[in-house]
Symmetry: C2
Subunit: 413 residues, 2 copies
């Protein structure tokens, strides 16, 4: 029998758009002993988590809980529960994750209309609103922060337009939640999906979502009770009713998940104990820091990073007017092998930065300043290391200038 | 702003059929720092995990990896990827989790035929085989160990019959994997789903699966590349092909997950870093103990528990010829409030045992002897505490006899 070495991961400085470093207090929470899923101590942690998610999402929605899976599990749970096969959806796309919304919506049976914007920019809200008037969809699906291109879409006007027209507005805020304001109620978003492994700095594994009473009504109309848990009365009531098509997934059936996350505690899956510990602790740390203070920290470190990169002589990618504050994209200088730079950063300095997808593959690097990774020492480390590695690759840089510019930003605060 | 207390879960003795206690070495692994998902150190842990899963499932299958979600996510991933809408499936049901297979199969579009056996028993393999001949399904779906009733279904003959008839045989081994033999190749199982939070003693959050080349061929026929990752050549090839219906889920699309778990490392979700650490460490501990040694440990502790319960004067529920070795069901004595007993066990002794579902709710208790919870001190603790709590509830028990009988079993080894 082959013997496997004990797990011993290296310490990394992770400056990608996720997964990012995790606060040691969250890592410690992961190591606590297991509680049963219906143990009153555990269900009180579940309730705490719901409360804290409402604060995070800036909402008074009843429903705010994690789906047990990675971020895209939250997207799929919302889309498969909200979209009835044949429902028309409009998806304005400005990067890879807009395409993912298209992919998922199509698979769950939506009739998809889309508009697409050149990567590196976002939509003028009026463009989206006029497409809404033209297409008359039942739902509009949009990405708030597109990590593939480092852009952020203004949402408030689009949300208002949807609400006036009675159209559901569903937003992927995986990259932004916990790093920049996501105002669920104020922006009239009917359902929002967050991510854990980015600005919340909790390991990948849960997808916090929230949705309002309008969305819940649509979901509840499709509600069934799981086979094996149904009583005779449930079956009679079901057979007597006229309903829209059943939700095509059991795992992602939000009507059933609601019953598990409510005082009814109707058995569904076995809640992920350790991940729930981590999420609760991560949310506690976010609220302890304060949302506004946290957003300010993200802006400060972004400013220092951008100042440093520009002083070094590097060019940023994309329209600066819609830059996503927590991801900075750099055009790879002519003649420099982007992957070789990333390898040297990882292997010699233990620092990870990201490449991108599709048409941007090999064209840009992406540096995240998210959550626990978003701190002064990390920004300074990445600037210093990047300069050294670029020199090593024969690139022309203004030696010494990057770190001085970043230090200047920190000195001014 | 409300302040939330630091996480501080109590220490419990968890004797349910899952989630169960977790080895401190696995809890420690959960607390290690994050690696990026494409960091070579991390992908080597992914590869180790696949290798170890093949040993666990006793298979030479190429595909053995975890789905990122709780156990039922693995079931849904296998069913939604393998079952094309309209495919006929046969589900022999002998407890709640057979109904769950029905629920999921129906939602993913299967035409479901089923046979049902009284709870507390299992099928004679011949009964299933004759139903197969009658129904002529494309797939047969079955539960190996039914935790709701504490029964275990013999599978080898059914698997052989399916293989001869060219029918896919899919097995839910969530409750048995790591606790009793699950012989994927020998029993001709085309796809098997395991669970983490039971006999593997890893927290809930991943669903290890394996499937063979026959199943992979069916899945690969439905393969697409995710929107946003497709090249022009991919799109041309796709448009030129005639294919069965696309898999209705992106999250559970095993054809895409395969590409993520293969050297291609085609981006899909962001792998759950900490849960993967836990699974790798948990599998390492299972293989270090040895599968046969581990199964023997489960049998020994079951024997001691059963001897103790019977000596105390309690009656076991269900047909003893098909008892699931890792779950012991007890008929709640006349006049005793089962939930009150469970509460006192939890609140006074910190011990958790389970109730059951549906028609068995309030009729039986279920005690798990699974994974790290399956050890002598836990068995002795639960017997001692149960006696005290039963006396407290006015039940007649043979005082002192339970622990002596259990100690006798341990003395004989």
């Amino acid at each position: 029998m082959k013997r496997y070495a004990e797990l011993a991961p290296s310490q990394r400085t992770i400056m990608t758009p996720g997964p990012v470093e995790v606060d040691p207090r969250v890592l410690r929470a992961l190591s606590y002993p297991i509680l049963g899923q219906f143990d009153p101590e555990f269900t009180s942690y579940m309730n705490d988590t719901m409360e804290m998610l409402r604060s995070l999402f800036r909402t008074t929605n009843q429903w705010a809980f994690p789906v047990d899976g990675t971020s895209r599990s939250g997207i799929e749970a919302v889309l498969t529960s909200l979209i009835e096969p044949g429902d028309k959806v409009l998806i304005p796309i400005y990067g890879r994750f807009g395409h993912l919304l298209y992919e998922i919506a199509e698979r769950v049976g939506a009739e998809v209309a889309y508009i697409e914007k050149e990567w590196g920019t976002v939509f003028d809200p009026e463009e989206v609103i006029s497409a809404i008037h033209k297409e008359k969809p039942a739902l509009v699906l949009m990405v708030h922060g597109e990590t593939s291109t480092g852009r952020m879409q203004p949402l408030a006007e689009i949300g208002k337009a949807c609400r006036e027209l009675g159209i559901l507005f569903v937003v992927d805020a995986v990259a932004t939640i916990g790093g920049v304001p996501v105002l669920t109620d104020e922006w009239c978003m009917d359902a929002v999906i967050g991510g854990t492994q980015k600005c919340l700095s909790v390991p990948s594994g849960m997808a916090p979502i929230t949705y309002n009473a309008i969305a819940a009504a649509k979901i509840n109309a499709r509600k069934t009770i799981e086979r094996g848990l149904r009583t005779a009365a449930d079956i009679d009531a079901y057979n007597a009713s006229v309903r829209p098509p059943v939700i095509r997934s059991n795992y992602f059936d939000l009507a059933q998940l609601q019953d598990y996350w409510s005082p009814a505690r109707l058995n569904h899956h076995t809640e992920m104990t350790s991940m729930l510990y981590a999420l609760r602790e991560g949310l506690r740390l976010v609220l302890e820091e304060g949302l506004e203070e946290r957003f300010a920290r993200h802006r400060l470190n972004e400013s220092a990073l951008v100042a440093g990169l520009e002083a070094m002589g590097l060019s940023l990618y994309g329209d600066p007017n819609c830059k996503l504050p927590v991801v900075t994209c750099i055009t790879i200088p002519e003649g420099v092998d982007g992957e070789s730079v990333r390898s040297l950063l990882l292997n010699m300095f233990g620092i990870e930065i990201a490449s991108s997808f599709g048409s941007l593959k090999g064209k840009i690097w992406r540096i995240g300043t998210m959550g626990y990774s978003c701190r002064q020492q990390n920004v300074l480390q990445v600037l210093g290391a990047l300069e050294a590695v670029l020199i090593r690759h024969g690139a022309r840089v203004h030696t010494g200038a990057g770190l001085q510019a970043a230090l200047d930003v920190y000195d001014q605060t």
